[in-house]
Subunit: 406 residues, 2 copies
């Protein structure tokens, strides 16, 4: 991976260097921290000038930062995030658009935009991101790097700005599968190793089938090769089959549940601050919070009921060595400026249909940069059973080894 | 349960009435909300005058409040919490000590002190509590009512002040097992019913054995009766056996992991606010935060590693129909004023050894008011497998029915 000067990357909001606090498996590696995550002595800006102004500096670093420093990694600074992490695009109204080094005319994806950019520009080996609705996975896919969203609730979010607590996670973006596994393993605090042989890999056909044609064409040989690597036939499944519920077959049901529930939680997390400070927000963020505040909260039980039903069914459907396979996103990264408020919003709905599975099911997911379409990267994702992050990362690492060796 | 006038209970910090927003399984029931949880239009005070002063009013109610209102319950006000929820005692330096109706000379337990008191005084049918390190279970045990701590991460904590996110949960305190199950089921959004027959019930001997003699004596016939009710022999187990690790046999290891990790997360959640506002805190709370800030954060990996190892082992040790049984606490409620800063702090260490199992393992637990010792209540607890809250609540309900029918 060639290195692009950090000024050109536009990835960092603040550069500084914090030496490791211990020796360990990450010795010699450099990382960056999304500016949604506390670093002692710095204000966490969360991609919003108004937030930056109304919040005091952090006095301690978030647990995830301490874990990585103690394992031997060096912190190189804080990276741009989409405003209040409430976007998948990577275009911050106030702080600009970090460079997508693999496709410079396209967006890096968000909200962990700067973290993905810093890794893809070769400025750090890995970076901390957060993922509520795809904010690690989509930028990993767009920028052609590796990304891990953990099982919900395992990695501490203390010291990380909340957006929607039943979906919020802290994950890792990395330059290769080995670094991804090493850094993620430190956050997981799970060093158990498996033989990394999946029992089943099931392609979720209804998502695969609605991806762009160029994405399907690009991923078809990748999926076939995955089958060869592990010697297991890739079976096909559907969301309705996985959830044992015909209603789950409509992708827009997942998107609707995701949007309402994240909107309701985001209104709880930020409503009082918004009302008290009347901050200036970017137009897209303002629109999202308007939607969040307009939700009829007396009708949440049906939404939560459906979410938890799907979550329980997914848990039942996945044994500890079972994996699901989907394109990380239905499209390559949009061109910069292409996705605009009030039009082309279909980008969001289509993308959330892919990312909402892991979020709804609280499942771990790894996005692997195994293909390109029209010259831009597209990720293939594996999802594992609840709590089987170590196994999933082993599988991804095995994929990385075989792909590199080809 | 006889009703005590609310002025005498000292349970409420603010009384108001919010009618239900829908019909449902909680029709006709009244509930109260711990003042750590947002109710639209009110400031969430978190048991701290300084917090109350420096935070704006909530503009929306927390999701858990909306869930209960939509299911037909009526909200009767907000209840006193221990300061910033950082205590198990129920004696708030600023707002006083809610009445323990079952043992008026003793503390109600905390931090959900007012919620437990309001239920035990017959003022509401159930109440929302939160439980990081025992804050639902201990007051339930002390006050002779039913209490549920859910599987971590299932019930949304959006709109609830965080203390230590990998331990924080929203739970229910209730007047009887039926109300407990009905209210908890609404928060879980899981209406599945089981035959409520446990495969195994294992008494954790090393905890049982270190409880006070009067607690052991009081609970012995209760445990025997539990065996009869379900027709399963109560087997004995130990923490070391459950975790397949001799180190887990020392109760103080669990307490040490709990204290360090909760301290580290609490410093992340509140450190910036404490530094920026220099609030006046009660002496016990001040001491706890001093401990939290003095922690060497570069040594967290070992603590997190141990916590996650125990958590994974507990998950492996418990099948979906397996239960663990422990006294909820090692003692009946202390006398008011008995537990003081700098002496008798053994109360905390001893109690945390009992409550840390569910917290560390992210497991659900129900405390059942099945015995008294020296005239004061003591709870017997059942812990279930991860995500098996509905089953656990069914079992507790079956216990409630058999006990009542005696």
């Amino acid at each position: 991976m060639k290195t692009i000067p950090w000024e050109q990357s536009g990835a960092f909001i603040e550069r500084f260097s914090i030496p490791p606090t211990g020796d360990g498996p990450l010795g010699g590696l450099r990382f960056a921290v999304k500016d949604l995550v506390d670093v002692a002595g710095y204000r966490t800006g969360c991609g919003s000038p108004a937030w930056l102004e109304t919040h005091p500096p952090a006095v301690v670093s978030a647990l995830c930062v301490e874990q990585l420093l103690a394992a031997g990694a060096q912190c190189e600074g804080k990276t741009i995030t989409d405003e209040l992490a409430f976007s998948l695009l990577g275009e911050n109204h106030f702080y600009g658009t970090p460079l997508n080094a693999a496709a410079p005319e396209r967006v890096p994806g968000g909200s962990s935009s700067g973290s993905a950019s810093a890794v893809a520009c070769g400025l750090v080996d890995f970076a901390i991101g957060t993922d509520t609705g795809g904010s690690v996975r989509v930028p990993a896919s767009n920028c052609g790097i590796w990304g891990w969203r953990p099982t919900h609730g395992i990695v501490s979010i203390a010291g990380v700005m909340p957006l929607a607590p039943t979906f919020d996670t802290v994950g890792i973006l990395a330059c290769d599968a080995d670094v991804l596994r090493r850094a993620s393993t430190v956050l997981l605090a799970d060093e158990s190793r498996s033989d990394a042989m999946p029992m089943t890999i099931r392609l979720v056909s209804d998502l695969y089938d609605v991806a762009d044609a160029n994405v399907r064409d690009a991923l078809r040989p990748t999926v076939e090769r995955l089958s060869d690597v592990f010697g297991v036939a890739i079976r096909h499944t559907s969301l309705a089959e996985l959830c044992d519920d015909p209603s789950a077959g409509a992708a827009d049901v997942w998107v609707d549940v995701y949007r309402r529930l994240v909107g309701a939680e985001a209104a709880s997390c930020h409503g009082a601050w918004l009302a008290a400070t009347q901050p200036t927000l970017g137009p897209m963020t303002e629109t999202r919070f308007k939607f969040a505040h307009a939700l009829d909260r007396s009708r949440l039980n049906e939404v939560i009921g459906r979410r938890e039903r799907y979550c329980r069914q997914l848990r039942r459907a996945l044994g500890s060595r079972d994996l699901l396979c989907i394109p990380t996103a239905p499209t390559i990264a949009p061109l910069k400026g292409e996705v605009k408020l009030g039009r082309d919003n279909d980008y969001y709905g289509r993308t959330l249909a892919f990312t909402a599975i892991a979020g709804t099911g609280r499942l771990p997911q790894v996005s692997m940069p195994l293909a390109t379409a029209c010259g831009a990267p597209i990720g293939l994702s594996l999802l594992g059973a609840y709590g089987e992050d170590a196994f999933l990362l082993d599988v991804a690492n095995a994929v990385g080894e075989r792909w590199t060796a080809r």
